[in-house]
């Protein structure tokens, strides 16, 4: 299947160290706005018990799941030690001029 590039919103609509939820084709996705300005997207579901990662605390490129504090790297999608697992990541792109955020699906 060919990938498509979808405009989902503007970076200014997400607070720094915070997140926004969105749905694309019935997939729940969460966008995180990090302190360094980057915007990362992962599936909004912790591999442990399905906790909503959008409600977790963001610390330097990692999010802590609000349910049992699993820590997940937002770039690789990998769950950090001592827990194990992986969430789906989506490639994002930000237009530095307009602040438009695109997701590659």
């Amino acid at each position: 299947m060919a990938t498509s590039k979808i405009l989902v919103g503007k970076r200014s609509e997400i607070d720094v160290k915070s997140s926004r939820k969105l749905r694309i084709e019935n997939i729940d996705i969460v966008l995180f706005h990090l302190s360094d300005g980057s915007v990362l997207a992962v599936e909004n579901k912790c591999p442990h018990k399905g906790g909503l990662l959008s409600e977790g605390m963001v610390c330097d490129g990692k999010v802590h799941c609000p349910l049992h504090d699993w820590k997940i790297d937002l770039r690789s999608g990998k769950v950090q030690d001592p827990d194990e697992g992986c969430v789906t990541t989506f490639k994002t792109e930000v237009d530095e001029q307009s602040g438009d955020i695109y997701i590659h699906m």
């Binding site: 926004r20 084709e25 909503l52 409600e55 605390m57 001592p82």
Partner: protein, 813 residues
């Protein structure tokens, strides 16, 4: 290239899979591995079944190796099929479905099965064992329809099953053939103490009873005993012992006794066929506890990997009863005779018992602990080492200091410990794994070892040994980090951090982390909210609260539920409401299709199952202040009716409660704070298990502090008795502010008072000038708070965080 040998394992349980796991580490590509298991599950932690039943663990959490593990390691897994014959000539295994598997080597790890008493009626519906996931499910089902459960067997497993059934709400009796419980692990005094404790938890005991038959039509109705008596039962759980599964071995010409007979290499009488775990019998013993089975697995894995290592020498075992609120530990042999002497100490005030047994050579050979099992790990390690303890028996009995244990040379003891020795019994972590974490993963603290290996992560009993290994193997690297900070990002304690913030007047989280040398630039979910609280507590006027560093509930001003929905609890001062407020709550609940409306434990109404997007709209329509039922803040002030209506009431508890709730609402605190006011000493508002509880007496008020009704119940301590409502406010304000200024973030008043002592609190509040100073500080803080729901309703920037950014559906399929 040498052709890979075919290894087939029969059985898919803990001991067997553990062996394979270890083998894969030692010789990853040596074998083509096939595992045949008859339970339709991947390998799970059977030991944790009692926790599943007790409700503290979920079925999914006890799976040790999930399906992916088998796939990733190239293991062929055949489940739901039973091996029926090993053809040792053709080197082939046959299953009951007629499939054949060729082998070069075989591991038999068929485990054991529960022994079912061969009495009449034992095949009736409702008679089960306690062994696998299915039994657990049967118990869960039965508890929904039936009331009376009987457990046959007062051993470790029987008691854990009984505790689980009580948790499920069943009236549970335990039948035991012996005249006291757990006679294989405990002596009579310890057993009696255990019995009393379990009786207090609601268990009934029928001791000295031999079961004769089970009556009932289709389903069980009663259990009858040989003495003619009987007990009603809707469910009977048999936990009278286990029997190794030896049929397959026997049918294949392998020597068996009670179990499958193996030598020190875990090999049976037939070459290339091994047995491990509960089905194996080594030097006359078939073990049923996890640690020895893991030790056997380690020996066998080495043998299969071709590593020359000493054989299995048998195990000294220790047991711990996994029943909440009861601490029991037993190890080695603890029965005295002509050559074995015991020392014991029994404290009926504290409810503790300790016994140690020493043999004629002066070696410690056994121990029994009840009530306080903190010395268990150390004593067990002394027993295993077979050290002579002559001359210091009394020190061991009265409590152990590390110095005494180490005998002056701690390093030698940890160095002498074999690499395979299991340090953490709960998670099966060996010394080698811990040392490897120290050497190659850079772990230099107990918490980093825990994060890396899970050692000391469950019951924590092995923590002293992990600390010991750390000091020996990390050397200088461990010297500094042995001190544990508030989280993994820092080595500083709460008091040091607060002092530094004050000394340098640090006004942001980022700056604080920067100046104090945090290892993670943006901290973690533990230190961020803590720093946010400390700075805000110290500088309420100057500090801008950082909402990104608040825990989830405090960011959304609602309580997150397991499915990601939230709950809404409006403020109802003192639990006193009006018909119009009730109507409004009802209308909002209807309008937003709230799935459940419930009264909380703190006399409020809880609207549960609300979608995040709906929160601001609901708050707006409710037009009531936030009830703060979600944060580390003042929750509720619970009141009884008091002198307004009650014929016993001595004071107006409702007015007092409302005044307190209006004064302290929105207060940020280290942890949640619950208050209550009772109008007389009958104490209907349950004030003596609250953080701050006021009880009216004739002509005055008692102020109680530091209570908790949660996991660990703690009754309050009486702080003082005062005469007027203004004095109640003065003392309450001063107490709450002292707690705010001194406690560790996330520490309840109960834990704080246990830590600092009531005398400290009394002394700090003794002088009126100190109380007034504290009161003016809390009033300052309170004057700066606003209602968070209103704030969000009015601010579009804040509201956006509750909404979805986009919902995109492309038309093309």
């Amino acid at each position: 290239m040498k052709k890979r040998e075919k290894l087939v394992m029969i059985g898919n349980g803990m001991a067997g899979v553990r062996t394979v796991e270890h083998l894969l580490k030692l010789a990853p590509h040596a074998y083509d591995i096939t595992i045949i298991g008859d339970e339709p599950h991947p390998n799970y932690n059977r030991i944790m079944l009692s926790s599943v039943l007790a409700g503290s663990t979920d079925m999914k959490e006890i799976v040790i190796n999930d399906w992916d593990w088998y796939k990733e390691n190239g293991i062929k897994l055949v489940v739901g099929e039973k091996a029926v014959r090993i053809d040792t000539k053709q080197r082939q295994i046959t299953t009951q479905l007629g499939k054949h598997f060729d082998y070069d080597r075989v591991i038999i790890a068929t485990g054991s099965q529960p022994f079912m008493l061969p009495i009449a009626g034992s095949n009736k519906e409702g008679v089960i064992a306690f062994r696998n996931i299915k039994d657990c499910e049967t118990m869960l089902e039965a508890s929904k329809q039936y009331k009376k459960a009987v457990v046959i067997g007062g051993g470790l497993l029987g008691l854990e099953a009984a505790r689980g059934l009580i948790h499920l709400g069943m009236e549970t009796s335990v039948v035991h053939i012996h005249d006291y419980l757990m006679e294989r692990q405990l002596d009579e005094p310890a057993s009696r103490m255990l019995q009393r404790e379990l009786e207090a938890q609601g268990m009934t005991f029928l001791l000295n009873k031999q079961s004769a038959f089970i009556s009932g039509r289709k389903r069980v109705r009663a259990l009858h005993f040989t003495d003619g008596s009987e007990v009603q039962a809707d469910l009977i759980v048999m936990a009278v012992g286990i029997r190794p599964n030896v049929e397959l071995a026997k049918a294949s010409g392998i020597d068996v006794n009670r179990g499958i007979i193996v030598n020190d290499e875990m090999e049976t009488n037939l070459p290339g066929i091994y047995a491990v775990g509960e089905c194996a019998e080594h030097r006359g013993i078939a073990y049923g506890l996890v640690a020895p089975l893991y030790e056997q697995g380690m020996v066998l894995a080495k043998r299969l990997a071709g590593i020359d290592a000493p054989g299995y020498q048998g195990s000294v075992t220790s047991t711990k009863l996994k029943v909440s609120g009861v601490d029991v530990f037993s190890a080695g042999s603890f029965i005295e005779d002509a050559s074995r002497k015991s020392l014991r100490i029994q404290d009926d005030l504290a409810g503790t018992y300790k016994k140690i047994t020493i043999d004629s050579n002066g070696k410690l050979i056994g121990a029994v602990l009840f009530g306080d099992t903190s010395d268990g790990a150390e004593l067990f390690s002394l027993i295993k080492r077979g050290e002579i303890v002559e001359g210091r028996e009394k020190e061991l009995l009265l409590g152990i200091s590390l110095d005494q244990l180490n005998g002056g040379n701690p390093a030698a003891r940890y160095e002498a410990m074999p690499d395979d020795e299991i340090v953490c019994g709960c998670n099966g972590v060996t010394k080698a794994t811990i040392v490897d974490a120290i050497h190659s993963k850079g772990c230099n603290s107990v918490s980093s070892i825990k994060a890396c290996t899970k050692a000391s992560g469950s019951c924590g009993g092995c923590k002293p040994i992990v600390e010991g290994l750390l000091s020996v193997y990390a050397g200088d690297a461990a010297a500094e980090p042995v001190k544990e900070g508030i989280c993994g990002c820092t080595t500083l304690s709460r008091d040091e951090i607060v002092a530094e913030i004050q000394r340098m007047k640090l006004l942001s989280i980022k700056e604080t982390m920067n100046v104090l040398g945090w290892s993670e630039p943006e901290g973690c979910s533990k230190c961020r909210p803590a720093l946010n609280y400390y700075i805000g507590m110290l500088y309420p006027e100057e500090y801008a609260d950082e909402k990104e560093s608040r825990i989830t509930n405090e960011r959304y001003h609602a309580n997150i539920q397991k499915d990601g929905t939230f709950s809404v609890v409006p403020r109802v001062y003192g639990g006193v409401t009006t018909p119009s407020d009730l109507k409004k709550i009802a209308e909002v609940a209807e309008k937003f299709n709230v799935p459940m409306v419930k009264f909380t434990g703190g006399q409020r109404l809880d609207l549960l199952g609300v979608k995040k997007e709906d929160l601001p709209k609901m708050w707006e329509e409710l037009d009531m202040p936030s009830g703060h039922a979600y944060g580390k803040t003042l929750r509720t002030v619970k009141t009884c009716v008091g002198s307004t209506f009650c014929r016993f009431g001595t004071q107006d508890s409702i007015a007092m409660g409302i005044r307190m709730e209006k004064a302290f609402e929105r207060l940020n605190a280290p942890s949640k704070v619950k208050l209550a006011v009772s109008g007389c000493p009958r104490n209907c508002a349950e004030a003596t298990i609250k953080d701050l509880g006021i009880v009216a007496i004739d002509g005055g008020w008692e102020i109680h502090v530091g209570g908790n009704g949660g996991v660990k119940v703690r009754a309050t301590d009486l702080l003082c008795v005062v005469k007027t409502e203004d004095e109640v406010m003065e003392w309450s304000s001063a107490f709450l502010q002292l707690y705010r200024e001194q406690a560790i973030w996330n520490e309840r008043t109960a834990q704080w008072i246990e830590r600092v002592g009531l005398d400290y609190v009394k002394q700090a509040l003794q002088k009126q000038e100190d109380r007034l100073a504290l009161m003016s500080r809390i009033n300052k803080t309170l004057s700066l708070t606003t209602d968070p729901w209103k704030e969000i309703i009015q601010d579009k920037e804040l509201r956006k965080n509750f909404e979805q950014l986009a919902d995109i559906q492309t038309a093309a399929q």
